[in-house]
């Protein structure tokens, strides 16, 4: 399930809900990304999406990852709109029979979200707003799974 939301979410509740009622899942991996303040250089993040397209594209990638890593289930929750430092921006949850597949799928999904999912990130700070491009590291990380 893919969810874009302009509301803060509670990571513990998301993990609890995702883990509930599973009799065959042996491993759940989770990643939680927070908005960084960068010592005052970033006062807010702003995330933009192309809502239906973004959800559909992330859904396609999640379906591919589900097959590739033999997942039982996966969930992506991504904030859009204005986000304050310290607030959760993204949460990825993966469920598999064993931990290696769950960890790798979670890692792969995050690498995809950082540089290939239709999302755009603007950082606001004392120096003014700036659009954040994917870093060389982000691009290399995503390419690891090609």
């Amino acid at each position: 399930m893919i969810r874009l939301t302009d509301q803060a979410f509670e990571p513990g509740a998301e993990l609890t809900a995702f883990a509930r009622g599973r009799s065959e899942t042996g491993a759940i991996a989770s990643f939680l990304g927070l908005a960084r303040g960068d010592a005052g250089a970033a006062t807010a993040l702003e995330l933009e999406a192309y809502p239906e397209f973004t959800v559909a594209e992330i859904g396609k990638f999640v379906a591919t990852a589900t097959t590739r890593f033999e997942l039982y289930d996966a969930r992506v929750i991504h904030r859009i709109g204005a986000i304050a430092p310290g607030e959760p921006v993204v949460m990825v949850l993966t469920a598999a029979a064993h931990r290696r597949e769950a960890f790798e799928a979670c890692d792969c999904l995050m690498d995809y979200l950082k540089s290939r999912a239709p999302l755009w990130k603007k950082e606001h700070g004392p120096a003014g707003p700036r659009w954040v491009d994917p870093t060389t590291r982000d691009l290399a990380d995503a390419a690891r799974w090609d």
Binding site: G33, L47, E48, Y50, E52, F53, A56, H78, V89, V90, M110, L113, K114, S115, R116, A117, P118, L119, W120, K121, K122, W131, V132, D133, P134, D138
Partner: protein, 82 residues
């Protein structure tokens, strides 16, 4: 006969708009790029920049494609989520 054009991320800041109808509908994506670029040189340069993707009716398009009335075209700059 119009096409709806959407811009995202830094492309909005360059153009000063997020969504607009272009009428009459250009025959192709490349023709649409020319129409937009003729009105705004900064946008023309931005659309020709590295890593710009085009999406036609919610499907990514590589290169050119024919356009029809009521199509929705989006131009996407390099992506960065997470």
């Amino acid at each position: 006969m119009t096409v709806q054009v959407l811009l995202f991320g830094k492309l909005c800041d360059v153009a000063g708009w997020r969504a607009r109808a272009v009428s009459p509908a250009p025959a192709s994506l490349n023709a649409l790029r020319l129409v937009l670029g003729k009105e705004d040189q900064a946008l023309a340069a931005a659309l020709a920049g590295p890593g710009i993707s085009a999406v036609l009716n919610r499907e990514i398009v590589r290169g050119d494609a024919p356009l029809a009335a009521n199509d929705e075209v989006a131009f996407l700059p390099p992506m960065s989520g997470g």
